[in-house]
Structure formats: structure tokens, C-alpha cells
């Protein structure tokens, strides 16, 4: 592997929007290397759009402008569909929110986990089979031999998300983008799936961009955090510095989570008017 000193993902003045109206992502700039970064924001912040632009999955009615947008040295603004095909799954993979809608209900699990290998790697049938089984084990699923014959509708939410991870990681991409991977899961499952993502990314020496609306959740699993609000990045800090955040938005997001400790007390809330005025 060539020692690539420039960051894996570079975005400079990225703007995404509808042809008329306010931009949904307003001229943001960031760089991500082989590290675990979280992009946190609430609905309407533009975080999902940013993630999708890195995968070329923006809705056709949206326009994208940037003075630079590159991933692994590829200029994402000028890619042809065939180039996107080899990039996605080859270098960068994505895991999305709800496995129910992302998995094909009419194909077996084994088929779906194997498919990226057919598209991106040249392996023999036996090699593919071995990789599929190994991958299913790596994501913590029991009985991979039986599982590959089953269909998505027979899975629980947590299992479905692990399958999504298997599909994403089976081609050994260099980078994983996870767009709210645990929002559709039960509370109990969330930590498990996030820990799994963190472990796999560490084992395979990958970079991770985790999109989330839950600051406390990402604090445990990422090294760096970028906080977005209404299309702009308001704050950037290390995850360990979150409890001492100085920006009012970050402070509020960090503190507004309910728990046993906050019982009977008023939760801190956002003063949106003040936020609009904050530089």
C-alpha cells in the first residue's frame, strides 16, 4: 500500500441545495483521514446529504457545488457512473439507517453478501463462499452456514444491520460511512452494533464517518466530532473534549439527554434565536 499522506476525504466549500431556495449544505469544508470521525446534527442539519454526496447518492434534483471534493484522490465532482461503481464498494462503503429498506427481500442473505465480491473482486466460487462465511462470523452472527440460505424478512433489526455491515465490509474497502446505523434499532442493540463497527474498523485499518444525531452515543465510539446545524459546521472538537465543549449548541446537545441523573430536573434546551446570532 502506498503511503498516501493526503487525507482520504477532502471537501472544500461544499454546497448542496435545491435550485431555488436556501442551500441545505452551506459551503462546508473538512478533511478526514484514516480515523473515526462523527458528523452530528439534528434533522435539517445537512449531515445525511453530506454523507450521500461522498457516495454519489444525492437525489437528482439537488445541485452540488464545491471547490474541491475528493475521495482517495478521485475528484468526486467529475466521476462517470462506471467510475462510481468501482469506487463504491471498492474503496468506500456505506451502511444506512434501516436494514428493512436496504436489503432485497427476494434474494437470500448469502446471495446479497456475496454480490459485492462478484462486482469488485476476482475470486473463485469457493473463495467467495469462504469469505462470506468468515464475514458473517466477523459481524457476530451465529450459524453462518444456515444463515446464508435465509431471507431478510426472517431477521430481527439487529441481525439485519449486521448483515448490512457484512455486505459493506466484505470487499475490504478503506473507508466506511455509516448513516445513522442504529436509529432504527432498539436501545439495547445500539451499543452492540456501534461497538461492532468500531472493532471491525480498527481490525481492518479503515476510516469511519459516523453520522448521528446522538452526541453521547458517538462520544464513546469516535475520535473526532463535527457538529452541524442548518447546513453549517458549527463546532469541531475531539470526542474526549465533549464534556468541556464551549460552543453553546454543542453544550446543549451534550447535556440535553435525559437519564436517571436528570430525574426531576429541567433538561437544558436550545435557545435557537441566540444560536442564529452566534458566529
Amino acid at each position: 500500500m502506498t503511503a498516501n499522506t493526503s487525507p482520504f476525504i477532502i471537501a472544500d466549500r461544499l454546497t448542496i441545495g435545491l435550485p431555488e431556495g436556501r442551500p441545505l449544505v452551506d459551503g462546508i469544508s473538512f478533511e478526514i483521514g484514516k480515523e473515526r470521525v462523527a458528523l452530528v446534527g439534528e434533522s435539517g442539519s445537512g449531515k445525511s446529504l453530506t454523507a450521500r454526496s461522498l457516495m454519489g447518492l444525492l437525489a437528482p434534483s439537488l445541485s452540488l457545488n464545491a471547490s474541491q471534493l475528493s475521495l482517495a484522490g478521485n475528484d468526486l465532482r467529475h466521476l462517470k457512473p462506471s467510475q462510481w461503481q468501482s469506487l463504491r464498494g471498492g474503496k468506500v462503503a456505506m451502511v444506512m439507517q434501516d436494514p428493512k429498506y436496504a436489503l432485497n427481500p427476494s434474494k437470500t442473505i448469502g446471495w446479497q453478501v456475496e454480490e459485492p465480491l462478484l462486482l469488485h473482486r476476482k475470486l473463485s466460487r469457493r473463495q467467495r463462499q469462504e469469505k462470506v462465511l468468515a464475514m458473517l462470523e466477523a459481524v457476530g452472527l451465529a450459524n453462518p452456514h444456515q444463515l446464508i440460505k435465509r431471507y431478510p424478512n426472517q431477521l430481527s433489526g439487529g441481525m439485519g444491520q449486521r448483515i448490512m455491515l457484512a455486505i459493506a465490509l466484505i470487499t475490504d474497502p478503506e473507508f466506511l460511512i455509516a448513516d445513522e446505523p442504529t436509529s432504527a434499532l432498539d436501545h439495547a442493540m445500539r451499543d452492540q452494533v456501534l461497538s461492532l463497527i468500531q472493532d471491525l474498523v480498527a481490525q481492518r485499518d479503515m476510516g469511519l464517518l459516523l453520522i448521528s444525531h446522538d452526541l453521547q452515543q458517538v462520544a464513546d465510539h469516535c475520535q473526532r466530532v463535527m457538529v452541524m446545524y442548518q447546513g453549517k459546521i458549527l463546532d469541531r472538537l475531539a470526542a474526549k473534549d465533549l464534556p468541556q465543549a464551549t460552543h453553546p449548541y454543542t453544550q446543549t446537545l451534550w447535556a440535553c439527554r435525559p437519564s436517571l441523573a436528570t430525574k426531576g430536573k429541567r433538561l437544558p434546551t436550545l435557545d435557537r434565536a441566540a444560536l442564529e446570532g452566534y458566529p
Binding site: 437528482p60 434534483s61 445541485s63 452540488l64 457545488n65 471547490s67 465532482r77 467529475h78
Partner: protein, 282 residues
């Protein structure tokens, strides 16, 4: 500093908009012709000038004249009236009846639903033009009877659609919320369910009108609609049929009008349906 935009594929949205623009413009034209016929048409549609029979289209008669020397353009313009009248009658008969039956069936369920749906099935299985002919033969030819006859076989699809939508809506949170507030029965059916079933009913109405206009013209063609000498496109086509090989314009003018009217409603229906789909998608 290079900046690039991804291609904007607003083509689909534009096409939808154009369909509606064209459809509404044509509809406006038809309505205007019907309302202002006496002022817009160059001649009296019933004025027979035997010396000017079967003249081809020229500067005096833009569409030519028919077998009785009547100006075809004027007759086509006046012909919008029975057509649009028929459309209005049919709408007023089919949509309310169909939706009431459908919503009641979907909401009340049980044996009420079964009976209503079987009645709907019976009417759905009747062949529309044949029944229309039979009714008109019995009741006598006129616009109202023609409308009644066509309406009788057009309401079932509205009932089925309304019932399916009602059943789906029954599981929704806002109906559960209405139930929690003690709202039920007629206020629930007409105040809450009806507004939600209305958009797709409107689309269906627009799309089916295209076909209904053709059926109405068919009735007129067979002499079962408006009686001569009143200008009506269907009967005009019938008259033109006798001389179609030598004086093609006598049938082509009303035929073109029928085509245009049918297309108008098809465009509107398509445009509305696409708008409805996009709203559902987002």
C-alpha cells in the same frame, strides 16, 4: 477555482407541469367556447344554406360546411355545450355516489361492507355502452338520460378505490386520534375520511372523463344522444360518415374536436396523478 454542478434532472417535473399547463389551457378553451358560443361562432349553427352545401374549408368557412350548408366551425363550437354538460352531469352523479358507497363500506365493515361491495361488483360487470343504449332506448334520447346511463356504469371504480383507501386509513394515527376524541360515524366519514380520499378520486375522475367523452360521442353517433338539428359532435360524425370519402372535413372536424376534448382530460388526469405521486413520495 473550478466549480461544477451535477446535472439537474428536473425534466420529469417539467413534463408534469407542461401536461397540466396544456391540459388546463385546452379545458379553458373548451369552456370558453361553450360559454361564449353565440359571440364566437361566425355563423348560426343551424342556418341552412343549401347553395353552400359541402364546401371544403376556405376563408369563409374555416372548417367547411356540411350536407345542409351549415358552417362546421360554428357547429363544432356549439357542440362543446352538450359535451361539457354531459361531463358535469356525470361527475355530479358518479363521484359522490361512488365515494359515499366506498367510504361507508370501508369504515363500517362487516355485512354492510359485503353488501355494498357486491352491489358495486354487479354494476361494475355491466357493459357500459350496451346498458347506456338500452336505457336511452327505454327512456328516450336526451342529454340527461345519456348522462344517467353512462353514470350508472362509471361509479363502481370510485367506490372500490375509496373503500381501499378507507381501509388503509383506518390504521392511521390520525383516525385513532379522532376516535380518542369521540369522533365517529358521519362526522368521521365525511369530515375526516372524505378529504383524504378526494385527491385520488379527482385524478380518477379526470382520467375516466377521457373515455366517457368517447362513449358519449358514441351514443350521439348512434343517434341516441341529443337529437338533430342540435349540434353534437357524435351525431355530426355520423352525418359526415355518409360523405367521408369525398367530403372528409364533415366528419373530421367533429372527430378532431372529440379527440381534443378526450386528450384534454387525459392530460389533466396524467398531470394530476404525477403530482399526487410526487406528494406521496416526499
Amino acid at each position: 477555482m473550478t466549480e461544477t454542478s451535477l446535472p439537474l434532472r428536473a425534466v420529469r417535473r417539467d413534463k408534469r407541469r407542461w401536461l397540466l399547463i396544456i391540459g388546463y389551457s385546452l379545458l379553458g378553451l373548451l369552456i370558453a367556447m361553450a360559454l361564449f358560443a353565440p359571440w364566437v361562432s361566425p355563423y348560426d349553427p343551424n342556418a341552412q344554406v343549401m347553395a353552400d352545401r359541402l364546401l371544403p374549408p376556405d376563408s369563409h368557412h374555416w372548417f367547411g360546411t356540411d350536407g345542409f350548408g351549415r358552417d362546421l366551425l360554428s357547429r363544432v363550437i356549439y357542440g362543446t355545450r352538450p359535451t361539457l354538460l354531459l361531463v358535469v352531469f356525470i361527475l355530479l352523479l358518479t363521484v359522490p355516489v361512488g365515494m359515499t358507497v366506498g367510504i361507508a363500506a370501508g369504515y363500517l365493515g362487516g355485512w354492510v361492507e359485503r353488501i355494498l361491495m357486491r352491489i358495486t361488483d354487479i354494476f361494475l360487470s355491466l357493459p357500459s355502452l350496451v346498458i347506456a343504449l338500452a336505457m336511452v332506448a327505454v327512456l328516450g334520447p336526451s342529454i340527461l338520460n345519456g348522462a344517467l346511463a353512462l353514470a350508472l356504469t362509471s361509479w363502481p371504480p370510485f367506490a372500490r378505490q375509496a373503500r381501499a383507501e378507507t381501509q388503509q386509513l383506518r390504521r392511521s394515527d390520525y383516525l385513532a386520534a379522532a376516535k380518542m376524541q369521540g369522533i365517529k360515524g358521519l362526522p368521521l366519514m365525511f369530515g375526516h375520511l372524505l378529504p383524504l380520499c378526494l385527491p385520488s378520486a379527482v385524478v380518477r375522475a379526470a382520467l375516466s372523463l377521457g373515455g366517457i367523452i368517447l362513449s358519449a360521442a358514441g351514443l350521439g353517433f348512434l343517434g341516441m344522444g341529443v337529437q338533430p338539428p342540435t349540434a353534437e359532435w357524435g351525431s355530426m360524425v355520423a352525418e359526415g360518415g355518409k360523405v367521408i370519402f369525398d367530403q372528409w372535413w364533415v366528419a373530421a372536424a367533429p372527430g378532431g374536436a372529440i379527440l381534443l376534448a378526450s386528450l384534454t382530460f387525459n392530460f389533466i388526469g396524467d398531470g394530476l396523478r404525477d403530482r399526487l405521486d410526487s406528494r406521496n413520495d416526499s
